[in-house]
Symmetry: C2
Subunit: 190 residues, 2 copies
Amino acid sequence: MARVKLQISISLDGFAAGTNIGTQHPLGENGELLHKWMFNAATEIDKQLSTEYFTTTGAFILGKSMVDLGIPYWGDDGTFGMPCFVLTHHPQPVLVKGPTTFHFITDGIESALAQAKAAAGDKDVVIGGGATITQQYLKLGLIDDLYIHLVPVLLGKGTRLFDNLDGFPREFNVVEAIHTPNATHIHYTQ
Amino acid sequence: MARVKLQISISLDGFAAGTNIGTQHPLGENGELLHKWMFNAATEIDKQLSTEYFTTTGAFILGKSMVDLGIPYWGDDGTFGMPCFVLTHHPQPVLVKGPTTFHFITDGIESALAQAKAAAGDKDVVIGGGATITQQYLKLGLIDDLYIHLVPVLLGKGTRLFDNLDGFPREFNVVEAIHTPNATHIHYTQ
């Protein structure tokens, strides 16, 4: 049975992006500090984790703003190499970038999840951000696993990942915490 | 040379206390979930960490609200067993509880730190919360080590530890991350 996973990098002060998100700063100002562990500064362990996540994943669910800002950076193959379900309020035809297909879903997060599960088959569905859709899935208790990459930086300001979660507390189990100089990679289950 | 350490438990969503802090809920509603790792649910590793912090510490710096609310719970020995420097706006005589002395400091956070260092001798000074004084020390860059006990719970609301930190980003080094089912204990240095 495919699992539904949240996969996201946050700063020590809980921001998933910096301020002033836009074409100039797709991750917000200083937001690139949150993804150093995946790129130039990556250790072998960081790289292995990053690769593992992709090989076990059969479909992504993404927010529309993230896709709008990311597309120019994701190249001709669309980066993901699998079906991506994009939550939006405005219908839009499927966008194909090499092996990546972006399906724009207008009938809500549960429909997006059902379609992503169908597309993923035996593999997992990853909710890849941003903060708004993450909060919606968390509130409905639809996420089985949280993979939080906690980056050792205080951004000071930006978009908080865990916000607007009235109706909590909710306790999780810690499955594993893997530590590199770039990030503490923590796996939680509900 | 004594080091200045921040030592604090936070939820996965970054809260150091729940809402409605007061005599009924000294840690705010559900705030007790943040300290399970130190008490009944503690594993051997949690207990060892908790003991180590006390044996290497020569003085604490605490916020006034924390002390006001904590005193009734801290018993006749005052819990800390060493000098505690309490930041406040109102002068107050020294309060002695067995081996613990609470000194009320009215001339600012740098004076409190100097006095705590003098009292600690070769041992370390620990900033033990709450959020407000932590933010003041962080902004001035006066903290050498951050010991964050990240508890696997989303509280949903409360007092955020890392807030009001305009003027950042600031990157830290991760020295160690120790994982138990109760908390991920992460040691950062500036």
